[in-house]
Every structure is written in C-alpha cells, then in structure tokens.
C-alpha cells in the first residue's frame, strides 16, 4: 500500500515545452520578405517599413495563441562601408523563455530582427 502511494506521488508532471524558435524564425522571415522584398533603401519609407515589419511579426506571433509576452526589435541599416554591431544578453528562465534572430539583406540594406518570448505562467 505504501509503495503504491509513493509511486503515485512520484509521477512526473509534464515539462514545459519551451519556445519554438524555428516557427518564429519562419514567421518573421516571411514578414520581412513581404515588406522589404524588392525594395531599395529609401529614407522616406524606412519608418513605415520598420513599423510594419514589427507590427506584422507581432500580430502573427500572437496568432500562434501561445502564452508568451513578446518583444520584437528591428534594426535596418543602409549598406555602406561602415560597421555595425549588435549584442544581447538576457536574464530569464532558460527552460520556458527563448529568442530568435533573423538576418536579412538585399542589395541596398541589411535588416536584423530579434524576437524575445517570455513565458506567462497561467
């Protein structure tokens, strides 16, 4: 009887799945392709483009219906002979939270999109 009870108590609960980075990568890549694909760097439109990339990515990520808070960052640089570095460091729960980075470029510009997903525990 006692050993049966112990077996029942020791039954493991399911572990959290974690962030699906590949899915997010595909979503964001499609968004960027849709907005910037075929365009050349244009100072007048750049504001609008970054806003739509970020907004569309966020909307599609939310449609996945997962319990996450999202932070989406987008940096667009004109292609030039000048250097640019980005780095990020995160303090979070490594099992449940995750990040994904998409680098995209064409002839006239480079684009880096970062997605950070932080789990909400329901």
């Amino acid at each position: 009887m006692r050993s049966l009870l112990r077996a029942w108590v020791a039954l493991p609960f399911s572990l959290p799945v974690g962030f699906n980075a590949e899915e997010a990568h595909n979503i964001v890549k499609d968004c960027v392709d849709g907005v910037l694909g075929g365009e050349d760097y244009n100072h007048n439109n750049i504001n609008q483009w970054t806003a739509s990339i970020v907004e569309q990515s966020l909307t599609h990520l939310v449609k996945l219906g997962k319990a996450y808070k999202y932070i989406v960052t987008c940096a667009v640089v004109q292609k030039s002979a000048y250097g640019f570095h980005t780095a990020s460091s995160c303090f979070w729960d490594t099992t449940a939270d995750g990040t994904c980075t998409v680098r995209w470029e064409n002839r006239t510009m480079n684009c880096v999109v970062n997605v950070f997903a932080i789990a909400i525990v329901l």
């Binding site: 493991p12 808070k69 292609k79 780095a87 990020s88 460091s89 303090f91 729960d93």
Partner: protein, 179 residues
Amino acid sequence: MMMSDIAKNPVAHSRKKRGSVSSLSSHEFQRREIHGRTKDSMSTVSYMDEPSQRDDVSRLTVQMENTYQLGPPKHFPVVTVNHILKDVLTNYLQEEEYEPELCRQMTKTITEVIKAQVKDLVIPRYKFIVIVHIGQLNTQSILIASRCLWDPKSDAFSSYVFRNASLFALANVYAVYLE
C-alpha cells in the same frame, strides 16, 4: 517605441528556475571595398549559466501557490536604469574610436556589464533583456525600432543613446514581470 497592453491574470511562483543566458551574437555588417571584395561577418558566443545542483530535483514542474498579489510590489526603476546605461556607455566608450575588432568585443562586454549592474538592483520577479547596438558614425542611415506585447502596468523598458566623434551606441533594457 510602441507597446500594446494585454490584461493578464497574475499567478504566483514560490520557486522558479533562474538562468542567465548570454546569447552574445554580434552581427557585424561591414563591407570592405578592398580589391572589390565584400565581407560580412557574424560571430556568435552563446553560453548559459548552469543552475545549481539542487535545482535538478525541482526540474519536475510543481504546482505553485498563489501569492494573491495583483501587481509587482516593487516596480522597475526606469530612471535608475537610465543612469546605469548612461554611466556604463560613457565610461566604456568616451575615448574610443570605431574599430571593428574592438567594437565587436565591446558590444559583448557592455551587454554583460549592464546586465550585471541591473541584476544588482535586485528587483524580485523581473526578467531582463539587454540589447546593445554599436555602429560607426557617418553619413549612412540607420533605423532601430522595437515593439512589445506585454502588460504596461508592470513591464517597462529603458534606453540610452551615446555618441562621440566616430561612433554611436544604443543600449536598451527591457524588464518583464513574471506573472
């Protein structure tokens, strides 16, 4: 910066696994027109601090009790963090000139330093994300935007831009409350 809010039902944790993930991927866009060759480089350093041994036992998810708190007892101090960012960037970059190797290392170091200083503030139940961009200052154009889906009552961000003669640096810290 634009944020959209979503109301969340707060749930509590009495014990949580904290890990420090430093994904120091430094994306460097640099075209050197020497001999007509272009070169893009990317370096990635990814490491995770291992949780302590006794946490292995708690890897099985356990049901937590409610704290019945509706919001964070101590909010993220945006102004203090602004000062931290300003101090760190100014100290590290005041006299520096833009050099590819130096800045590559510098971005990673600065992210780590900022993260350590923000952690020292000891604000319970907050998770942090630190992002640093460093670029050469010249006539090229760059736009950096971000949008967050979170609860604006408990979550916040802090940002600072530093410029000197040859480079610019942007540091962002996002703080997300653990619900």
